[in-house]
Symmetry: C2
Subunit: 309 residues, 2 copies
Amino acid sequence: MSILVVGSVAYDNLETPAGKRDDVLGGAATHFSVAASFFTDVHLVGIVGHDFEDAHIEFLRGRGINLNGLEVVTTGKTFRWTGSYLNDLNSAETHDTQLGVFAEFDPTLDEEQKTKPYLFLANIHPQLQLKVLDQMETPQLVAMDTMNLWINTERDALQKVIERVDCLFVNDGEAKLLTGESGMLAAAKTLRAWGPRIVVIKRGEYGSLLFTDAGIFSAPAFLLDSIADPTGAGDTFAGGFLGSVARAGNLEDETLRRGVLFGTVMASFQVQGFGLDRLRTLTRDEIEGRFSQLGKMLTADTSPLFAKA
Amino acid sequence: MSILVVGSVAYDNLETPAGKRDDVLGGAATHFSVAASFFTDVHLVGIVGHDFEDAHIEFLRGRGINLNGLEVVTTGKTFRWTGSYLNDLNSAETHDTQLGVFAEFDPTLDEEQKTKPYLFLANIHPQLQLKVLDQMETPQLVAMDTMNLWINTERDALQKVIERVDCLFVNDGEAKLLTGESGMLAAAKTLRAWGPRIVVIKRGEYGSLLFTDAGIFSAPAFLLDSIADPTGAGDTFAGGFLGSVARAGNLEDETLRRGVLFGTVMASFQVQGFGLDRLRTLTRDEIEGRFSQLGKMLTADTSPLFAKA
């Protein structure tokens, strides 16, 4: 089944301990779309300016991503983020944000987009997320991401979005900030009580936690020797998760658990290159290989001990 | 098979966000022994002073722990640690340490102790750990713990111990400090190259990692609503690990993976009470129940995705 994603398409100027790169293709919707495109059809709704390169349009089309919803505004520039991760790979420092045409982003869905069964509301202003939600017909699964900025400044609108989605992606810091709970068990309980029956808490190098009616799944991170650039890891995780779930076409707990593992795998590749460099050459065989390795990291005989004696 | 443990038996004065307790039975060898006693026979080698309470001797004996190696010195007092965890449950602040009779601890093993198949060198001065190692005949598995103090002040002696053991328990901070590596993959590789073929890296609320020739196992932490007192969690983890491994009587990777999960389970109970309070009433059924819950947290279908299509 296909996925509709609404969010930012951007250029990033990045600095990490591994180096410095300018004009890197980025944006939450971009990262999500490219990751999900390995699994299923993706329709992207976003906005770019006159400086958006044809080569990047071709790259996204080449990944099979439907760009009917990508508006090109010739009177302005593409959203640009300048940031670094010099002290801590888990925490970006923003040096500059140029919204450009993104300031006028006002997502309007066409008839085809409205009927998509899976929707990902990437990290944009909660009012825009609500506007997209209002246009959708009967999606089977709506998932969302957000960020500290909206938690701190647009709490009421954000709360309304959270109450209307099925699946919420947050990192552990956002979970604490949203709920005031320091323990992830209590935080997830609170978040699920607000509405989303599926809550995924991402913990960076420590893996992630999936909370559903069926219980808790704890996924390990894939251990890497080094990280080139963490930008987009969360959106790539969401892309692998929703992509694999949409491909499976059901919301069984087993499917969701596999989704967390595919999200982990996609994010682990993503951070090994700047921007989308690693995903440009990634193959399904490589995804399958790392998924199998990750599976071995969580395999254990959990049959009873004392009963055996 | 039975386990010999050599280390501290102590009284702790503790303060945590959950409260304040004085004269709490503690010490690394105590915590380890009580945890391991749920699984197999344990022989404890340690030293206490004239103030050590009969009721505590009886408690340990009641758990089936062999105390032939517990020396009682009537001319001094039991090792006493005063500490708190007021700002961060993961990091103890030491307010006072009274070594008492522990300053003259000079472990000498009897003929029975020397022949034990499993040995746990709890966190004591590396020279004492070496002395114990020199007395052992042909143990099947030697495991050790250590701490920042010895890494910083007794590095040469500590390195000699590490090179002679089969299994090393460290937390992530100690792994970084020992190896200079910030990534756990690189740290474990370095540690295993020094000697121990089994390396367990404990990451508190994020679970733990097991590194062996067979690969990596990532164990989740058991999620708790609240923590009363983290004192002894690491030793309790080691006790659950080695206890269950000794009970299984083999060093297969499957056994070691189960060991990490039993260590996790035992530590999860331990931190729910002050000192050994929770373990005093713990039953095998409760252990088995939480082990089963933990197993569900890591269960996933990891069969290939694309091959299925």
